[in-house]
Structure formats: structure tokens, C-alpha cells
């Protein structure tokens, strides 16, 4: 198909274009997901709205109670932000290990969320930090919990005229000492062979979120002093891994259990 490309230069034009074309139009941010899909003939949108120049969607801003990350902020920009490295460590580790330097320079956090892959690396960290997502359309805006944003692999609650404006993370001190992100399996363009875990310690409890082992991200809390059996029970309640060409259900389950056990042992 001969796609129609629309380059918008500001937020207002973007919202107007999305309002006009609705379902027919796909947003292109960095394009590291969308363009690869188009080249693989998995997708061929009629209208493509390129948002590269929409400055209102870029950058990391510190507000009184929240840290705001514009949807068009690249993984490299997040990785280079000193406050994210210090106080939002699981997110730092996720973008640090995402793709390659070239992919991090192009790919955005909004695209990672918009893509709604069960193994999108930024999503487990955003889950355990209780992030919210600000959505916008010509007709207004709404803020939703990230936990309510995903409906399944590739599926979100975004309406046809809506865009992801920004990610809102309540201010916190999730430092290297008490939190982290761990991923197993090498990621390439379209493979979803990875299992990922983000974790945060809160007093005597460790909060976990898991990527790649359920249709969307799953979470659980485990007491530090829980025995192996109890841990296994809690984790298995949270996840629903599947068999596919990249890994079996049992493999995914065992990897998750081992990572959880390791994190627990490292943080007695």
C-alpha cells in the first residue's frame, strides 16, 4: 500500500490529525517497532503520523510529587538522566540493557508502552513504581494506572483518537540498594523470548513484576522470610507462561523462580 505520511510539528496538530484519521492512522515515534513490522509485512497502516518533531512530548521533568517522562523521550535520554539512575534504578537498568546503542537512540518509552509487548523492557519497572500514563485527545485528557492500560499482547485501552502524552512516576527513592531489573534471554527485533523481572524492597517484603510470562505484566509480593515452597506458590499464582518456539512454559517458569530466589538470597 502507498501509505500517507503526515509529519506533525506540535501537539495540537498531532491531536487534530489523530482525531481526523482515528483508527486508520498509526503513530510513528522512533519506528523501531512499527517500521520493522512494516518491513516484515506484518502491518501496513493507511496513514502514518510521524511525531518526531513534537517537542511537547520530549524530556524528563521533575514536579513536586512526580517525575514526568514525555512519551517521545528516547531510551538513551532516560539512560543519561542522573536522577533516573540514582532514584529510579529499575527503569535505568531496563533502558541500559534495551536493544543496542542505535536502537536506544531511536526508540522511545512511549513506543515501548504503545507496542504493548509482554516483554517490553520498560514496563515491569513502571509497574512496580506505580506509574501512571497520561493520555490525550482533541477532546481532553485522562490519567490511568499503568496496570489498567494493557489489555493483552499488543492491546491497550487507547481510543482511536488518543495518544500517549507522558508517563507519571510518583517521586520515590528506588536506589540500587533496594531495587533492580533483571532480564534473561537476548532480545532482537521481534523476538519475545525474554523473561524479565523488576523488584523493589519495602521493609520486610519484596515486590516483583514479571515480563514475558503472562499476556501482560504480572506482579506479586513476597515476604523476605518466606520459604521456598511459599515463594513458588506466590510466583505461580502471578504468572501464566506459555510454550512457543522461543522457550517452553517450564523453562520460563524455572527461570522466573530462579531469579526470584536469587534476588531473595541477595537481599536477606
Amino acid at each position: 500500500m502507498n501509505n500517507i505520511f503526515i509529519n506533525v510539528n506540535n501537539l495540537n496538530d498531532l491531536l487534530t490529525a489523530k482525531n481526523e484519521y482515528g483508527k486508520k492512522a498509526k503513530i510513528l515515534a522512533g519506528g523501531t517497532d512499527l517500521v520493522v513490522r512494516m518491513k516484515n509485512k506484518m502491518m501496513d497502516p493507511e496513514v502514518i503520523i510521524s511525531i518526531r518533531k513534537v517537542d511537547e512530548l520530549k524530556g524528563i521533568h521533575s514536579k513536586k510529587n512526580d517525575l514526568i517522562i514525555g512519551s517521545l523521550t528516547t531510551h538513551s535520554e532516560i539512560e543519561e538522566n542522573s536522577s533516573i539512575k540514582k532514584n529510579y534504578y529499575p527503569l535505568f537498568q531496563a533502558v541500559y540493557s534495551l536493544g543496542s546503542p542505535q536502537i536506544r537512540n531511536l526508540g522511545t518509552i512511549g513506543g515501548n508502552i504503545g507496542n504493548a509487548s509482554p516483554s517490553g523492557d520498560t514496563i515491569p519497572p513502571l509497574y512496580i513504581m506505580d506509574a501512571k500514563i497520561k493520555l490525550m485527545s482533541k477532546n481532553g485528557e485522562r490519567i490511568v494506572d499503568i496496570k489498567n492500560f494493557f489489555k493483552g499482547p499488543g492491546k491497550t485501552i487507547l481510543k482511536d483518537d488518543e495518544i500517549i502524552h507522558s508517563i507519571i512516576i510518583p517521586k520515590g527513592r528506588w536506589t540500587k540498594k533496594i531495587s533492580g531489573f533483571y532480564k534473561v534471554g537476548k532480545r532482537n527485533a521481534l523476538a519475545i523470548g525474554v523473561v524479565s523481572v523488576a523488584w523493589i524492597i519495602k521493609e520486610d517484603t519484596i515486590r516483583f513484576s514479571f515480563g514475558g510470562v503472562s499476556p501482560t505484566i504480572s506482579t506479586t509480593e513476597i515476604k523476605k522470610n518466606a520459604n521456598k515452597k511459599k515463594v513458588e506458590k506466590e510466583v505461580l499464582k502471578a504468572i501464566s507462561p506459555i510454550d512457543d518456539i522461543r522457550g517452553s512454559k517450564n523453562y520460563r517458569r524455572d527461570v522466573i523462580l530462579n531469579i526470584v530466589e536469587k534476588i531473595k538470597n541477595d537481599n536477606p
Binding site: 519506528g31 543496542s100 531511536l106 532482537n188
Partner: protein
């Protein structure tokens, strides 16, 4: 549609078709053959160019979406006479075998040293980690980069 791109310092007006990638425009319309196509899906780094100040895979950038941007290719990093220190270093160390990956490494390496006067070996390795080579085993590429770093007066820090 028509787009304007600043390529290696010069503004160009280019007529691009739907889905045409930046890589295709560079090679087929501007005849800049230094940039190579390996995997065509963002995984190998052979097509790396600097887009608005950052190395990116040009094979997954749609030209129609980057109107007004600035692009630097390996040709733009090569002096009119001779070669740049990284190119010379790679030759000296034997870091070029078939040479298909070399332009991508030159672009990533140049960008790294442009932004850093002091560096650790792991920082350098990380900056090159998006470039794949099927021939050299990487050791000689790294050696070539280190020869270049020395020539450019860069300082290696301890890890």
C-alpha cells in the same frame, strides 16, 4: 513527497516515495555507497549513520518522516585527503577483513570519541555493541579503535 535533508553538511531536496528508508535514499538517490545494508531490521549496525547527532540504524528510518533533519554518513567523516584516525587505526590493526561492517564501526566509533575525551574499555565496547562483524572476532577492531584513541589524544580510564 519532497523532503529536505542536510547530508554531510549540505542541504538536499529529495523526492521520496512511501516507505523508502533513509538507507535507500542515501545509497540509491544520493549515491553515498559507504552505508551498507546487512540485516535490514535494526540488528546489525552496518547501516549506522548519525541522525540529528546520534548514531541510528538507517534501514529502519523512513525518509518521509525525517524532513528537516541532519544526517552524517561515513563519507562525511572521511577527510578529502586520506583517512580519519579510526579508519587508519582499523587498517593498522587488521580490523578490516571483508569490510562490510567497517563503515558502521567507523560511524559508531567516531561518535563515541567525539563525545568522550576519557573513556573506559567497557564504555568503548558498549558503544560498539550495536555493530556486528562476521569476520574479525572484534579483537582487532577494538585494537584499531585504541590505536585511533591514542592518536587523537584520548585517555583510557580504569574500569
Amino acid at each position: 513527497m519532497e523532503i529536505r535533508l542536510k547530508v554531510n553538511g549540505e542541504w538536499k531536496t529529495i523526492d521520496v516515495s512511501s516507505k523508502e528508508t533513509l538507507l535507500q535514499v542515501l545509497r540509491e538517490k544520493l549515491h553515498l555507497m559507504g552505508t551498507k545494508e546487512g540485516c535490514g531490521k535494526g540488528e546489525c549496525g552496518a547501516c549506522t549513520v548519525i541522525l540529528d547527532g546520534r548514531p541510528v540504524p538507517s534501514c529502519i528510518v523512513i525518509a518521509a518522516t525525517i524532513d528537516g533533519s541532519e544526517v552524517v554518513t561515513v563519507e562525511g567523516l572521511t577527510p578529502n585527503e586520506g583517512l580519519n584516525p579510526i579508519q587508519n587505526g582499523l587498517i593498522e590493526a587488521g580490523g578490516v577483513q571483508c569490510g562490510f561492517c567497517t563503515p558502521g564501526f567507523v560511524v559508531s566509533g567516531t561518535d563515541f570519541f567525539k563525545k568522550k575525551d576519557k573513556f573506559t574499555i567497557s564504555e568503548l565496547k558498549r558503544a560498539l555493541s550495536g555493530n556486528l562483524c562476521r569476520c574479525t572476532g572484534y579483537k582487532k577492531i577494538l585494537d584499531g579503535m585504541l590505536i585511533a584513541a591514542k592518536k587523537m589524544g584520548k585517555e583510557i580510564k580504569d574500569e
